[in-house]
């Protein structure tokens, strides 16, 4: 039996189950409406966009395809909205020493991995952002990221991350991978990166991954080039974005940046140990075809077809499995029973997270595009 959801094929059931998500979208996205027609259209389009994709997930019984559309569009429009906000606030998408000194850098969830040790040992936040006020404050982001990780585990990386859509998108461009085999051991590189960056940042009291290696500065904000060091940082950023986010995902059809490089991904993986939801292989149904392992974009399935600690719960293996052996499971419940309900129960918090974290940026970007080209 395939892993069809309880609602699959039924318009009525799917519509009823979509209703809570419509209400959540309305609640989350109606903040900040100004009455301008472009804002209202942006709001309506965004609610319709997220609600219709949620309906399609339920109606078709396949999650990853529709999740990916929401995830990729969200990532691209988040960048548009974010960069526009920065231009409005400071006139540029680059930051200089002045913004760093005045603690005006918006907090990004990836920095979480680097601030934890100094925060725990020295009671110091080593990020030049606002603790509690303003745009993307440190405390609000920490609460959202850690809270959602406790519930979803590494599900954050497939549902809540504002950058993940970039390499997810590039990994879906080609029909077949040009590089067919990726050494699965590279999945552990992200864990090494996490350990080294967490300790190195604690030693230098600077978020070193963000300073030197993060590719996503290209689609958010980056150092203003004022000397050799900042020039070098920009070159490294272009190289990491070009290779890890664009070229390698195109060639391998895997989310290489998320799977092998991002320290946040490794940190989130640790939450998979305590999260309620996890993907399991029901061995009584498994025919060892290996489709799950081949399709997993995060190299998170072992040779014997078992999901590993770095599973991001994107749902692709569950969709691809021809016998329904790959199942979403709630810890403490019997294996092989109620797995479609478990999947449905996972969908609500995961999709709500996406709407809460990125939805308003999507509405903002649509409004901005309308204001630029039509109104």
């Amino acid at each position: 039996m395939k892993n069809n959801l309880y609602s699959s094929g039924s318009i009525l059931r799917s519509s009823l189950l979509t209703l809570p998500m419509v209400l959540i979208s309305l609640l989350m996205l109606s903040q900040g409406l100004t009455g301008h027609l472009a804002d209202t259209i942006g709001f309506v389009v965004t609610v319709a966009f997220y609600s219709s994709l949620f309906f399609l997930m339920l109606y078709k019984g396949a999650i990853d395809k529709w999740r990916a559309i929401a995830f990729i569009v969200s990532a691209v429009l988040f960048s548009v909205s974010f960069m526009n906000n920065l231009i409005n606030l400071r006139g540029s998408v680059t930051y200089s020493d002045e913004e760093i000194m005045t603690c005006e850098i918006p907090f990004c969830h990836i920095v979480t991995t680097m601030i934890l040790i100094p925060a725990a040992i020295k009671q110091t936040i080593i990020f030049p952002g606002s603790i509690a006020s303003g745009f993307a404050s440190i405390s609000s982001m920490l609460v959202i990221v850690i809270g959602s990780s406790i519930i979803l585990g590494r599900g954050f990386c497939s549902w809540g991350c504002f950058y993940g859509g970039w390499d997810d998108g590039f990994s879906r461009v080609t029909r077949k991978p040009i590089i067919k085999r990726v050494n699965a051991a590279y999945r552990w590189f992200a864990f090494a990166m996490f350990i080294v960056m967490a300790l190195w940042s604690a030693a230098t009291l600077m978020p070193e991954y963000c300073s030197w290696l993060c590719p996503f500065k290209l689609v958010t904000e980056r150092d203003a080039i004022v000397d050799t060091e900042t020039l070098l940082k920009n070159v490294v950023m272009l190289i990491t974005f070009g290779t890890l986010v664009v070229a390698l995902p195109l060639l391998t059809k895997k989310r290489i940046q998320c799977a092998t490089f991002c320290p946040m991904g490794a940190f989130e993986s640790l939450f998979n140990k305590i999260s309620l939801f996890h993907v399991v292989n029901n061995e009584s149904k498994c025919i060892k075809c290996g489709k799950c392992q081949k399709s997993c974009p995060l190299l998170a399935i072992s040779k014997d077809n078992k999901p590993l600690i770095n599973c991001a719960k994107c749902g692709r293996c569950v969709d691809e499995c021809p016998t329904g052996a790959m199942q979403m499971h709630i810890k403490g419940t019997p294996l092989g029973k109620h797995f479609t309900v478990a999947r449905l129960l996972f969908l609500y918090p995961a999709y709500s997270l996406m709407i809460t974290l990125i939805g308003s940026s999507v509405a903002n970007a649509i409004s901005l595009i309308l204001k630029t080209f039509i109104f």
Binding site: W188, F189, F191, A192, I195, V196, L199, W200, A202, A203
Partner: protein
């Protein structure tokens, strides 16, 4: 005062953990599957660190002022640490062979001890701000014994923070742990080499 060494060690131990942690963690994860073995590696590293501190203690006492190493010495030692970490990534440390005889067996038995101790020695001889603080205190102590005691207490104070590191070996998946250790060694090695090149 001699006791200042302990207090400085306790207060800056977190910085020592952050600085030496990546080296120790990489070596432990790459080379040993057991907790006992992991503590053995930590103590090998610490023994090198202690020798380096004794050397600094002697020099500061004899020179009567705090040490400041020339730039090229710092660069060379940093480069050396970087290269040692890269070697650690690609070569397996020999395990003890208690029944062996001859030079080959002797080398095998002592290579890993020497290698990790040298790593601890070289990484600690790079005088960092906490060491300068102790060296300043020890330079004014007046006698070699006091200077050595100050550094010993600093070593004890700062080493306490390192003690939980080997517990990483309790992680169940040993193959994954070794692979992470290998990659961490490469990242740390490359970082130290870049740091050395920028120092030159």
């Amino acid at each position: 005062m001699i006791i200042d060494g302990l207090f400085i060690g306790l207060s800056v131990g977190a910085s020592c953990l952050a600085s030496c942690g990546p080296l120790v963690m990489s070596v432990i994860m790459k080379n040993t599957p057991t907790t006992t073995g992991a503590y053995a590696y930590l103590f090998k590293f610490m023994s090198g660190r202690l020798v380096a501190y004794f050397l600094i203690a002697l020099l500061t006492c004899l020179l009567c002022h705090s040490l400041s190493l020339p730039k090229y010495v710092i660069a060379i030692t940093t480069l050396f640490v970087g290269l040692m970490m890269i070697l650690n990534a690609f070569f397996k440390m020999p395990s003890y062979c208690l029944n062996g005889r001859g030079i080959k067996s002797f080398v095998r038995q002592h290579l890993s001890w020497a290698y990790v101790s040298i790593l601890g020695f070289i990484s600690s001889i790079n005088v960092c701000p906490p060491v300068i603080a102790v060296a300043t205190s020890s330079a004014t102590s007046g006698s070699i014994i006091d200077s050595l005691a100050t550094f010993t207490l600093f070593f004890i104070g700062s080493s306490l923070y390192m003690l939980p590191l080997p517990l990483i070996s309790l992680v169940g998946d040993k193959v994954a742990l070794q692979t992470i250790g290998k990659f961490a060694s490469i990242i740390v090695g490359v970082m130290f080499i870049i740091k050395a090149l920028l120092t030159f």
